[in-house]
Subunit: 204 residues, 4 copies
C-alpha cells in the first residue's frame, strides 16, 4: 500500500509556484506542449513534488484555474435579476460570448475542455468545483423566472441550460461560426421560444 503524504505538511510555497508556473506555461506553449518537467523547472520545484500531489497534468492545470477563483471565499457568481428575463439573459450570453472570444481566455479553457472530454475523473472534478456552482447560479435565475411566471413551473432546468448553452458551446468548440452579440441574442430568443408552453392547435 502506497504511503499517503501528509497534507498538513504540504508546502504552500511550492503549491503556489506550481500553479502559477502551470498557468503561465499553458498560456505560453499551449496545453499539448505543456510538460510536467517544464512546470517543475519553472516553479523551481522537484518533479516528485508535483507527482506527490497531483495525479495528472490535467489535474494540475485544472487546479491552476480553480485556484484563480479561490481568491474570494464565495465569489459572486449570481446572475443579474432585474425581473426582465430576456434582458438579463441577453446580458449574460453576450458576456459569455465575449469571454470565450477573447484569445487570452480561450486557449486554456479550450485545453481544459479537451482534457475533460477524455478524462471522466477530471470531468467530475471540473463539474463539482467549477461548472456545478456556475450552473447552480444559472438555474437560480431560471427558478426566479418560474416564480415570476415567465417560464413554465415544470420546466426541466438542466435541459433548459443545455438548450441555451449547448449551441454556443458547439459553435465555440468547433469554431463553426462567429461569436457575436447578435448570435448571443439569437440564442436567447430561440431559448425563450423553446421554453414557451405548447400552444393549443399546434396540429401535429
Amino acid at each position: 500500500m502506497a504511503k499517503q503524504p501528509n497534507p498538513a505538511r504540504r508546502s504552500q510555497r511550492s503549491r503556489q509556484a506550481i500553479l502559477t508556473a502551470a498557468r503561465e506555461l499553458v498560456s505560453e506553449v499551449g496545453y499539448a506542449k505543456l510538460t510536467i518537467e517544464a512546470i517543475a523547472t519553472r516553479a523551481g520545484v522537484g518533479k516528485q513534488t508535483i507527482y506527490r500531489w497531483w495525479p495528472s497534468k490535467g489535474a494540475v492545470v485544472l487546479d491552476a484555474f480553480l485556484a484563480l477563483s479561490e481568491s474570494g471565499p464565495d465569489q459572486d457568481m449570481a446572475l443579474p435579476d432585474t425581473g426582465d428575463l430576456k434582458a438579463d439573459l441577453r446580458v449574460v450570453m453576450r458576456a459569455t460570448v465575449a469571454e470565450f472570444a477573447d484569445p487570452a481566455f480561450e486557449g486554456p479553457i479550450r485545453a481544459l475542455n479537451t482534457e475533460i472530454i477524455n478524462d471522466p475523473a477530471l470531468a467530475a472534478q471540473y463539474r463539482e468545483k467549477l461548472a456545478g456552482p456556475v450552473d447552480e447560479a444559472k438555474k437560480a435565475r431560471l427558478r426566479s423566472a418560474q416564480r415570476a411566471g415567465q417560464l413554465p413551473p415544470d420546466a426541466d432546468l438542466d435541459l433548459a441550460l443545455e438548450l441555451l448553452y449547448g449551441p454556443f458551446y458547439q459553435r465555440w468548440l468547433l469554431r463553426s461560426g462567429p461569436l457575436t452579440p447578435q448570435y448571443a441574442d439569437a440564442l436567447v430568443d430561440a431559448f425563450l421560444k423553446a421554453m414557451r408552453p405548447d400552444i393549443g392547435g399546434s396540429a401535429h
Copy 2:
C-alpha cells in the same frame, strides 16, 4: 525548400494498411495511447511512409474514418422525409443518440473531436469531408419542411442545426446526462418550438 513526394507514385497498398491499422489500434488502445510507431508496425510499413503523407497523428485517424465513407461514391446520407417533420426528426435524433451511446463508436469519435477542437487545420478538413456533407443533408430536410410550411421560410438553417444538435453534443461530450430516446424526443420538441414564428403578444 522541402521536396514534395509525388502522389502519383503513392503505394495504395501501404495507404490502406496504414488506415486499417490506425482504425484497429484506435479501437484497441484509444486515441491517446495510439502511436505512430505502433501504426507503422501493425501496418508493416516504414514510419517514414506515414510521415511522408500525413502531417500528424490526428490526420491519419481522420483519414482512417474518412476512408470508411469512401466506399460508396455518393453514399445515401439523406434524411427520411415522410412529410411529418417532427416524426422524421425524432427518428433521426433517436438514431443519433443511440449511435453516440454505443461504446464501440464513441471512443474513436470522441478522440477525433478532441483533436479537432485543438487543431483548426484538422477541423477544416473534418468539416469539409465529413461534417459538411452530413450537415447539408440535414439542411436539405429542413428546406423541405420550409417548402411544406412547417418551418419559417426565412429561418437561419445553420443556427437551426445548432439548436437541434448543440445541446446533444454538449451532453455527450461532457457526459452531463443520459442519452435516451426520451431525451432525443425532448430535443426535437424544443427545437420545433424554438423555430415557431413569434406569436403576437409575447410581451417580453
Copy 3:
C-alpha cells in the same frame, strides 16, 4: 549552456553494465555494426544514460577497454630487464606479435584504431590513458640500455620506438604480411642495427 550531469550521482552499476556490454558486442558484431541502442539494451540501461556520460560510440568502446586495465591501480607494465637488450626485446616483440595475431584481441583493437585515426579527440584520450603509459615503460627499458652502453646516450627514444613498432603496426593494420616470431626477431635485429652509432667511413 548545457547542464552537466553530476558525476557524484553516477550509477556505477550502470557504468559497468555499459562497458561490459560494449566489450561483448564489439567482439560479437564488430565495431562498425555496433550501435548505441544495442549497448543500452544489452546493458539494461536507457540510451540517455549512455549519451549522458559519453560523447560518442568510440568513447564508450575506448572506456570499455580502459576499464579492463583499471583492475590493478598501477598494473605492472614494466618490460623485462635482464641486461640483455636484444633478448628482452625479442621476448617483448614476440609477445606483442602473438597478441595482435590473436583473433579475439585483434577485432576490438582494430576497431579502436580505426576510430582513433579519424577522431583526434579520441586519439588524445587514447594516448594519455593507454598508449602513453605503455610507451613510457618501453622508453624506461631503452634508457636502461642507454645506461648500460647498449644504445647511444643521445638516441631519440620516440623515434626509436617508432622504428621498432612502426613496421609491425603497418603490417598488422594493412595485413600486408604474416605476424610470426621470426618477423618479431627480424624487427628487433633491424632496430638494433639502426640504433648503432655511425661507423667511421660510411661515406654517405
Copy 4:
C-alpha cells in the same frame, strides 16, 4: 542467383559523374559524412546505378581515386635513381612527408585507410591497384641499389619497405609527431643503418 549487369552497356557518363561527385563530396564533408544518396544526387544519377556497380561506399571512393591515376596509361611512378641511394631516398621521403602533411590530401587518404583497415576485400583491391605498383617501383630502386652494392643482395625488400615507411605511416596515422623534412632524413638514415650487414664483433 542474382542477375549480373552487363558491363558492356554501362554508361560511362554516369560512371564518371559518380566518381567525380564522390571525390568532391569526400573533400567537402569528409568520408564519414559521405552518403550514397548525396553522391547519387550530386551525380544526377539513381541510387540503383551506384548499387549496381559498386558493393560499398568504400569501393566507390577507392575507385574515385584510382580513376585519377588512370589518366596516363602507365604513369611514371619510378623513383629517382642518381646512383646515390641516400640522396634519392631523402628526396622521396621528403616528398612523401610533404604530401601527407598537406591537409587537402590527407583527408581522403586517411578516410581510405580507415576503410581498408576494416575491409579486407577493399584492402586487396587497394593493394592490387594502388599500393602494389607503387611498392614495386620502390623495390625496383632498392634492387638497383643492391646491384650497386649499396644494399646486401639478400635483403628482404618487403621488410625493407616496412622499415622505411612503417614508422612514418604510424606517426601519420596516429598523429604522434610532426612530419618534417628532418624527420624524413632521420628515417632514411635509420633505414640505411638497419640495412647494413652485421658487423663483426657485434657481441652476442
